[in-house]
């Protein structure tokens, strides 16, 4: 008998709800993964297994799709995810200095999560607001016209 923890049962429940919402259609795999990414924070191996069972798609294939797309996390993340635009227009508008200041302020490097589990720092490709660059997103909030001195206040908003 396999012992499932409460957390596992929650994961399975969430996966089932989302898969049912999209009628378990194979072409909806990416919307399903995106929604689960939002609800669970990342696609764990438990989630992968359940998706595979419910949708009759081999687990390797589900993982292959999940790991292909940048916005789907296959590793756990911190409570808040920062996505900093590393594309040329932001770079040219002073992004390099702000990027260094972000890393200094939070004391983490890209793809790392802070020790207290609060922040995960990622780079993102162009967010399409280049004219107000440098730009970053913290969770769903977007910040433009960034300068290093704005960072402490911005980060202080998040618990």
């Amino acid at each position: 008998m396999t012992v499932t923890t409460k957390e596992s049962r929650d994961v399975i429940k969430t996966v089932d709800e989302v898969v049912d919402e999209f009628h378990a259609r194979s072409e909806e795999l990416i919307p399903i993964l995106m929604k689960l990414n939002q609800e669970l924070g990342f696609i764990s191996s438990e989630a992968l297994e359940r998706i595979s069972t419910r949708m009759h798609i081999p687990q390797s294939q589900v993982y292959s799709v999940a790991s292909f797309y940048h916005m789907i996390n296959t590793k756990p993340t911190g409570r808040h995810v920062i996505k900093f635009c590393e594309s040329a227009p932001c770079h040219v508008a002073g992004g390099r200095e702000v990027w260094e200041a972000v890393q200094k302020e939070l004391e983490i490097k890209p793809e790392e999560t802070s020790k207290d589990g609060k922040w995960t720092l990622k780079t993102t490709s162009c967010l399409g607001v280049c004219a107000v660059g440098p730009v970053m997103m913290v969770d769903d909030d977007i910040y433009g016209n960034l300068t290093p001195d704005q960072l402490p206040d911005i980060f202080a908003k998040y618990q």
């Binding site: 292909f68 797309y69 940048h70 789907i72 594309s87 227009p89 162009c126 399409g128 280049c130 769903d140």
Partner: protein
Amino acid sequence: MTALQAELAAKGLADEVKVLETPRIGDCEKGPEILVYPENYHYIGLSVKDIPFLVEEQFLKGRPVTNLLAPPKKEEAQELREPTAKEVRVVLRNCGKINPENIEDYIAEDGYSALAKVITSMDSDQVIDTVKNSGLRGRGGAGFLTALKWGFTRDAVGDIRYIVCNADEGDPGAFMNRAVLEGDPHSVIEGMIIAAYAIGAQQGYIYCRAEYPIAVRTLEIAIEQARDLGLLGEHIFGTDFSFDLEVRQGAGAFVCGEETALIASIEGRRGEPRPRPPFPAVKGLFGKPTNINNVETYANIPQIILNGAEWFASMGTEKSKGTKTFALAGDVKKTGLIEVPFGITLRDIIFDVGGGIKDDLQFKAVQTGGPMGGCLPAEYLDLPMDYEKLTQAGSIMGSGGMVVMDEGTCMVDIARFFLEFIQDESCGKCVPCRVGTRRMLEILTRICEGNGREGDIELLEELSVEIRQDSLCGLGQGAPNPVVSTLQHFRDEYEIHIRDKKCPAKVCRALISYEIDPENCVGCTLCARNCPVDAISGEAKKTHVIDLDLCIRCGICNQVCNYNAVNVTT
């Protein structure tokens, strides 16, 4: 009032011109006033004897009578800015003017009138002919004749057809599509319904990148409102034609802007391109004939139908008709969106509409067409914007992103930067792209770090040829472009990096050093306090010194110094 009505009736205009009595419009001391709508001409101080001439000029001939007009207000004078005279807003006509979450606003601006015209009085051939005569080319970058694509899709074998909108605008520096999706979503929806009618499709998808959540939301609201009004769904305008739309989000993969990768993504698979033929027009989404066009291509359709093919073809150059939106980013004063007719020069775009280089520094280069575009130096500033002319110059039109670079830009660093992006976004399916771009990036990184070797340039050139020839899709085929164009126009910069281990633009960290000028330094300690690695030492009011062994070349000391005492040397 009576005189006006009588004169209008006498000239047979009683049906065309509606006269409404309103409360005061402006300065009533000046005398009777008339506001002509929709032109917004405000006439004041009128008497009965003015009426016949006014009716003849304004209503019959469509010419305002300037000596009877109210003087322009101060704000109007400020709005008459020379540069924008070069702009012609077709695709962007409603952006910033209407509430995108209110379909009535769109309808008030002649929205869905083109669809009504098409459904009630045109057949598929007529629609496709109109698009053909307009000369509209795909605005996503390839510039393929739109009417030709529609024709192929319509004539392909099969009963089920799909219409897809490519809203996966991933080019760094490009945000034209985002503005249209957020500001005037119905123009795209209307364009898609017209395309569906002409091609014989029943279902459509708008594939929008997930990095644009507001655009996704705005589209979903717009589709819902269109459905409520019966403009989407069964029996549109009471005819047999039925069509519905769905929004599909991307998940953060630049390569999904490539049409076959986009199709794979909608189908729930990895966004990997496949060889063509067969083209999507013949075998696309779910194996069915599919027409894929860019947001801007669809957004042009309603205006072409309403104003006619000749109107559209009257703008632009011989082979590049109509207008194009461009997103100006980088070191230019007025960043943002513009829409101009083809044929305008780069010089006019950057220095006239764009206001010139920020801080009035020297122009160095402009990259057109996104990360697979080329960088063009000052000699090309008088190049007219035209698909073929840009390609001949070694760049591409692309979707319209334009990154302007000033004298402080290192062209080797820029090439490396774009290649890093492309390497990151390579789907990995084919060796020339996956491995080739990685090798190119390694070489460029070495050069920027001061480890360039004799023969590196030749190797880059050789790799470029092979990657271009042998890659499976547009991403790989275009990947070498930034390198090829910077090598072509800025070869000396590469040579100086490799041979002299210097960076002329003083950007590449490994090749520059910072030093404090003792003549200017007042010892304010600001630099030392801000240095992230504590590489600066000095007492208050005494000249400070940077320890070059500790210095990471971040440039913060140079930025914070108020006395111009920090110099960058290479």
